[in-house]
Symmetry: D2
Subunit: 132 residues, 4 copies
Amino acid sequence: MSIAHEMLDTNPARTGFDHRALAGCIDACFACVEACVACADACLGEEMVAELRRCITTNLNCADICDATARVLSRQVGYDAALTRALLRVCSDACGRCAQECERHAGMYEHCRVCAEACRRCVEACDALLNA
Amino acid sequence: MSIAHEMLDTNPARTGFDHRALAGCIDACFACVEACVACADACLGEEMVAELRRCITTNLNCADICDATARVLSRQVGYDAALTRALLRVCSDACGRCAQECERHAGMYEHCRVCAEACRRCVEACDALLNA
Amino acid sequence: MSIAHEMLDTNPARTGFDHRALAGCIDACFACVEACVACADACLGEEMVAELRRCITTNLNCADICDATARVLSRQVGYDAALTRALLRVCSDACGRCAQECERHAGMYEHCRVCAEACRRCVEACDALLNA
Amino acid sequence: MSIAHEMLDTNPARTGFDHRALAGCIDACFACVEACVACADACLGEEMVAELRRCITTNLNCADICDATARVLSRQVGYDAALTRALLRVCSDACGRCAQECERHAGMYEHCRVCAEACRRCVEACDALLNA
């Protein structure tokens, strides 16, 4: 069981979200922050950095949005369903765009391939939570 | 001229956003982070903390969403209009909810009054940018 | 192999840090952010919230410091050894203090027990990296 | 009076720090985040981006460390003097290094000149608080 899942099970507040789907989404968001911060840096170090500008910005934006989403999702006390759902949709969108951008370079840069996969998993986790 | 405005004017990339409205929104978002982080802490220190739980969560969520929004808005290179607009709407929503919650306690707690004003200014700045 | 480890192995830049120790520390920092954000919220929801004030602040501070440390450690390009080491020492210190505070409530609150363990693992990972 | 100063004056907790110096440091940290996030983006957009790699990383690290420092400084409840002072020293160091790096390009890039000034003001504010 992940840390997020253990924390949800021991939180005195309840949001109505299924804990497995919610913990899966929190974990996927943090993993996406981890991948995107690292991918922005790896792209910056590449010889062709000038052609990776859009990828770097997309990574940095995706990291910041996933970070905020993971933190909001982790808060069960005073939970706001409408705000959470709106943020989840933006997060899914940001991850989908970042996956798409990274996939354009995935054949050439292994870090973009790994990052695209983390973004795709986060899209799936956000969408699963929205449909739960 | 604010730091955000000076930075936009000297950035080699252009997004099409009016710099005055864009800088005003970046400044308002950072000011809202500043107010919300401090208001969450001040609420935590109040004797009636148990009745301020929702206010604390709303503050923390608002701070995290404004932080991500300010950072995304500050990036002009590889700018994504659709993502930015979706995030701006969520940010305006989060600030509006936080203002509303803080206003409920504004007569009793001066920090909630100051925070509600920072949130209202951020709502206005986000909406002005969305309508620019 | 964790995402952090895969990203380090595919980054064109090299810092001289052992990748296993560095990835372990990045992972531990992000896991600590996850635990501390959730523990602050769980403490806020407890009936005895007034007695958990210090624990909540310690959690929030630890989360913010671990977040910054994880991001700095993830950047290999233009790496600065002295700054990184100074930040690692502060992070280890913040996690040690948070572990200690959570351990005081670990018998009563399961979320504090889980969080204290995440903090202890982060102390170990920071210290291992400092001694690597 | 700045938002940070108003929030400190209305916070029920007291840390012993002089409010003027403390608010000045919180404001300077947030202004430095604002400048550094924007300078990293402006550098990324420059034709000579390959020669600005170190500047971009230094900006991103400085932004993350200032963000964490501003948040920790904003929390008066359960205040920890030793941790705060250690973090302030790292923040002053990160800002000093970022100022130095930006000053190398300040003649060529106006955004680096503006950013270096924000970093220098943050060094001064951190040092003033450490000596207060």
